[in-house]
């Protein structure tokens, strides 16, 4: 059997131990672990704000008006008013309604009769919700624009907040 132990260099000195480590994958694994931790933290932080339907405000445990909330409801028909870059509207769910004041113009496909999630806090009086982030929810239904025209008469008859 041939000896395969490390040989000495021509100058008679022992070669330096092999230090070539696979450092890049190790850095990557560390980065993955850190990123995972950050993501879970962000998710939990976001989850701290209770997610309440409009009718649950002041009713369900955690949906108190003195804490930061995420409110889900449908934007009421004819309620949207924009002035000086701010937007006011009301959202309803299960026959309960809350007025919203948002310091900006909601993006996405924001319009009347669409479900939204508003992040924010109630004002001191506990009546108006001061939103700092508006997210428009989209249902799992996909309907072409042409069908909408055909069903226009039906749509008009439907109360969107119902």
């Amino acid at each position: 059997m041939t000896d395969l132990t490390p040989r000495t260099r021509p100058d008679g000195e022992q070669p330096a131990p092999r230090t070539r480590r696979k450092w890049l994958p190790m850095v990557l694994i560390a980065a993955v672990l850190v990123a995972g931790g950050v993501m879970v933290t962000q998710f939990l932080r976001s989850a701290i704000d209770y997610y309440c339907n409009v009718d649950e405000i002041g009713e369900r445990s955690g949906c108190d008006t003195d804490r930061r909330l995420r409110i889900q409801g449908v934007v009421d028909q004819g309620s949207v008013e924009s002035a000086g870059g701010d937007t006011s509207f009301t959202v309803s769910f299960n026959e309960a309604t809350v007025p919203i004041y948002y310091d900006g113009e909601p993006g996405g496909i924001f319009k009347e009769c669409i479900p939204v999630v508003v992040h924010g806090t109630f004002d001191e009086a506990g009546t108006t919700f001061l939103g700092d982030r508006v997210e428009v929810k989209h249902s799992d239904e996909y309907v072409s624009v042409n069908d909408e025209r055909l069903d226009e008469a039906d749509d008009l008859a439907v109360d969107c907040a119902a």
């Binding site: 000896d3 993955v32 990123a35 993501m39 879970v40 998710f43 996405g108 428009v136 309907v143 072409s144």
Partner: protein, 256 residues
Amino acid sequence: MTTTTPAPATTPTRTRGTGTTATRLLGIATVVMLGWLVAFGLGFSPADRDQDEAVRIMYVHVPTVWVAYVALGVTALCSALYLFTKKHSLGFDRFAGASAEIAVVFMALTLVSGMLWGKITWGVYWAWDARLTSFALLFISTIGYLAVRSLGGSHQQRAKRSAIVGLLVVLEIPLVHWSVRLWNSLHQEPSVLDTDGDVSIEGLMLFSLFVGVIAFTLLYVWLLLHRTRSMAMADLLDDVGLDQALADRRAEGASS
């Protein structure tokens, strides 16, 4: 892709490619289906009532996430086959690794297309929502799997180590899929693969989505075959290099 297999100096160098007649036909079918996807996704399918033209992003977003799930499923299956069969074949390991690489690419496409759709529809690129967060975790876990693969050691060490990680990563998929049911989520519930069997997408939109799924699945198989073969060649090169080094040392030892 082609690579040159090192050979003893006495024999001529042979060039090997990763393509075969089957993969070439598969490649042609993939290109044709991608063409169909462009025609249906951007042309024939209608705009959506609420999302308008942004609905077309769905024809990339859903097929890419489908391929990502399938690819990670293949990674898990091949990892299990490597670990639990007697032969411990490196072929399974290479399939697992190649499939995970493709999964990462397709998950990145899913994230980018989803963020663009989110900005247009929700009004925000990102939300720390259950579906988005769990998918992002799946994405970085798969990158972690690839990092573990490249830690070094023998091929068998690499295979065993990564097979265990591969089986763990795939466990996240049910969490991602059911996250929209488990938590209040901004992300909508599934429109097609729903447990109640309801399909809430209109005919031509659904067909375009179907074309997308077929096109991206063919692309996945094509990529998987080529990548697995190129990985086999890379392993072969390593082995040839090692054999050569051993032979050199033996010759050295014998002559001294």
